[in-house]
């Protein structure tokens, strides 16, 4: 195993204030199960799970409460035992409403329900002897989705179509988002779990070469991974990436490690022979296979200058943001902005009553000092966004087209390639909301394509 320095730096990118020192040295702490959980059915990318419990039901820890509802979907399990208080539509961090199971974990166990045995939720598997199908099934029934942020169903990613061969498994430990240190802590504290996860994934993908991508500003994590992977066989390398946002983006990581370029959507990394998985996902796969422990909790960084004691917390999915903040000693000063996720790609939220999901990597409470009130001005054509855009787009052009409600022009400027990293808005001297414009154009285009598809399907049904 070798540690190499990445030779391929992508164009663009920005250098935000990382502010990682707030929570970097805080060891992962386990959160006691809160009294109430709000478990969303939409914790992943794709179709939300179909809720199969109703108010008044008693559910056990690990019990399936939401069934997979399509190919790109993930099942949801109860992260604690308790009584279902209600099943209602609640607002998620991204603004969409999804079914949420409100679980009262303080409720008393009914007399007729025996306490479950202390063993694991699923039967442990020996990954060396288990077949690829068994392992895939395990990943699926453990409810694992990508834990870096987007939440793509892992079982789908690890089961590429037979025509496409996976040559590289890239392990994403870049964590380029400011403030977040969850992946960093996992790499430091759970390096052996990550290694096991990598070995399992390597087996499932037919033995690809492994590249572990870590940004150069995390030397301790690089050391920890080097130690854990020291005696691994096969083609495994740790690639030290230059510190640059958005280094953690799937496409840019593929370029930085193996110098391949993913074509524009709908192409996926597998089309260039790569599969990218987050370090947290690797650890979750190891737990699911070796220990039989489904994905019921994750490490979330609670940070920001308005939090009394920033921490990295292992919290059950569905923990309300308010409980996380309480566990960190509450608010130091009244927060002016609360962000679910990192400062670059996260979502501002207006309430702490939202439950965490499998993809909640961070919760940031920022004081008035850190939040900048602005109003947007007309573009001054300085070109700073062009220089910042890692996808080689012209964000100024797109943003002006969206301002003029000309979605077609935005589409012609390849807005669908935009990864919404926020580098353009970050440096804009006119404080233009460029990323939001791109998002708006993408949503309109997606809605139009969906409408066209529905129309075509209806026409076909008529014939």
């Amino acid at each position: 195993m070798k540690v190499i320095k990445s030779q391929f730096e992508f164009k663009g990118g920005v250098h935000p204030d990382y502010n990682k020192e707030l929570a970097r040295d805080q060891a992962i702490e386990n959160l006691p199960v809160p009294e109430e959980l709000a478990i969303s059915m939409s914790q992943h990318l794709g179709a939300p799970a179909k809720c199969i419990v109703k108010a008044g039901d008693w559910v056990e820890r690990g019990q399936v409460i939401g069934e997979k509802a399509g190919f790109i979907s993930v099942l949801v399990r109860a992260s604690a035992s308790g009584r279902v208080k209600a099943v209602e539509k609640r607002l998620g961090p991204a603004g969409g409403k999804a079914d949420c199971v409100i679980l009262d974990t303080a409720a008393e166990r009914p007399a007729d329900v025996p306490a479950p045995s202390a063993g694991p939720v699923l039967a442990p598997l020996d990954w060396r002897t288990a077949s690829k199908e068994d392992l895939l099934k395990r990943v699926e029934e453990a409810g694992i989705c990508g834990m870096g942020g987007a939440g793509f169903p892992t079982a789908v990613k690890l089961n590429p179509p037979p025509a496409k061969r996976c040559e590289y498994l890239i392990l994403n430990g870049a964590e380029c988002e400011p403030y977040l240190t969850a992946d960093y802590r996992v790499m430091l504290e759970r390096a052996p779990r990550i290694r096991l996860g990598v070995e399992i994934m390597r087996k499932m993908l037919g033995g690809p070469a492994v590249r572990i991508a870590i940004e150069a500003n995390k030397p301790e994590a690089i050391l920890a991974m080097e130690k854990a992977f020291a005696d691994i066989e096969g083609n495994v390398q740790i690639v030290v990436l230059p510190v640059l946002y958005p280094q953690g983006s799937e496409k840019h990581q593929i370029y930085a490690t193996v110098k391949r370029i993913v074509p524009e959507p709908p192409a996926l990394p597998i089309d260039v022979g790569c599969v990218v998985e987050n370090v947290g996902t690797a650890a979750a796969i190891a737990d699911a296979v070796e220990l039989g422990e489904p994905l019921l909790s994750r490490v979330t960084t609670v940070s920001g200058d308005a939090v009394a004691n920033p921490k990295n917390i292992q919290a059950p999915s569905g923990t309300k943001y308010a409980d996380l903040v309480k566990f960190c000693g509450g608010e130091k000063v009244p927060p002016a902005k609360v962000i679910s996720g990192g400062t670059m790609m996260g979502f501002a939220v207006s309430t702490l009553e939202i439950g965490t999901t499998k993809t909640t990597s961070g919760l940031l409470l920022l004081s008035r000092k850190k939040v900048f009130q602005y109003s947007s001005h007309p573009c001054i054509n300085c070109g700073r966004c062009l220089r910042a855009c890692p996808m080689n787009l012209n964000p100024a052009l797109i943003s002006k087209a969206v301002d003029a409600n000309d979605i077609k022009a935005a589409e012609d400027a390849h807005v669908m390639d935009c990864i919404e990293c926020g580098a353009c808005s970050f440096g804009c001297p006119a404080y233009r909301t460029i990323t939001q414009s791109c998002r708006r154009a993408k949503n309109s285009i997606r809605a139009r394509i969906a409408a066209e598809k529905a129309k075509a399907a209806a026409a076909q049904a008529k014939q």
């Binding site: 607002l91 991204a94 603004g95 409403k97 501002a348 207006s350 708006r440 949503n443």
Partner: protein
């Protein structure tokens, strides 16, 4: 000089002959009724009928593939005129106008954050559901006003308001609203429930001073359930526009103050 005149005149004559022949032998026979029907339609090209503009609808009408009366902008008079041209029965239609089912103004409905992104409801709604405490209410960033072909919608005190006289009922605002709170209602109906929040009373009260709590008082005061003037979705009263209430007194008696008699404003255009 004479040569020039005769050459030009000659070219003109030959071209005229070609054109005359083309008109005679290559002309496309178009049903004259298409032109007449197009003239009878209002010409707003709003697309509310589902066809590409008035001309598209006229062609479909003449071809017999579209029902008469789909033109919301023209209303009954238009349908009658078309019926006369085509010699068919006019479907009984009534002019429909857009109604914004929210009355949570800036002073009544709480705002939970400061939003300073793009001034568009769909974008605002995708940012933590918008800055309004009520997740069902009008955000007031004017997505509907921007698509209205007649300029009938304006934003007043954080709420979209429809000018009934300008509205042609094309339904573009209904389609664009991220909160789905605009409905096309008969223009003759005068009593409306201006709320879109089906949550329980206390939850509604927490976010808005004028939200419907589902107390059923409007139903009781208008002759009870048998009278059928109202339907209920969760804890939200809805006017049954097939059988709308007529007694204006129930509006004043609504304890939540979420009902109004003809809430459409007149812009004075």
């Amino acid at each position: 000089m004479m040569i020039a005149i005769s050459v030009i005149a000659g070219i003109g004559l030959v071209a005229a002959a070609v054109l005359a022949a083309a008109d005679r032998y290559l002309s496309v026979k178009e049903d004259p009724r298409i032109g007449m029907v197009t003239a009878a339609l209002p010409g707003a090209n709003c697309g509310g009928c589902g066809f590409p503009g008035c001309d598209g609808y006229a062609r479909a009408l003449v071809a017999g593939t579209a029902p008469n009366g789909a033109c919301a902008a023209g209303g009954e008079a238009c349908a009658k005129a078309i019926a006369k041209i085509l010699g068919v029965e006019a479907a009984a239609t009534e002019k429909r106008v857009a109604l914004v089912k929210c009355c949570g103004t800036r002073s009544e409905a709480i705002r939970v954050g400061d939003y300073n992104g793009i001034c568009d409801c769909n974008v605002a709604a995708s940012t933590a559901g918008g800055d309004k405490g009520c997740t069902y209410g009008c955000l007031g960033y004017g997505a509907c006003a921007n698509v209205c072909p007649k300029g009938a919608i304006s934003i007043r005190d954080g709420l979209a308001k429809v000018d009934k006289r300008l509205c042609i009922g094309c339904g573009k605002c209904v389609a664009v609203c991220p909160k789905k709170l605009i409905e096309l209602v008969p223009a003759s109906a005068t009593i409306h429930v201006l709320c879109n929040n089906p949550d329980k009373g206390p939850a509604v009260r927490k976010v808005c001073g004028v939200g419907c709590m589902g107390c059923h008082l409007c139903e009781k005061n208008s002759g009870g359930k048998e009278a059928g003037h109202f339907t209920f979705q969760g804890f939200l009263a809805k006017v049954n526009y097939e059988n709308p209430p007529v007694d204006g007194q129930i509006v004043a008696k609504c304890p939540a103050k979420c009902m109004a008699e003809d809430p459409h404003f007149e812009s004075g255009h």
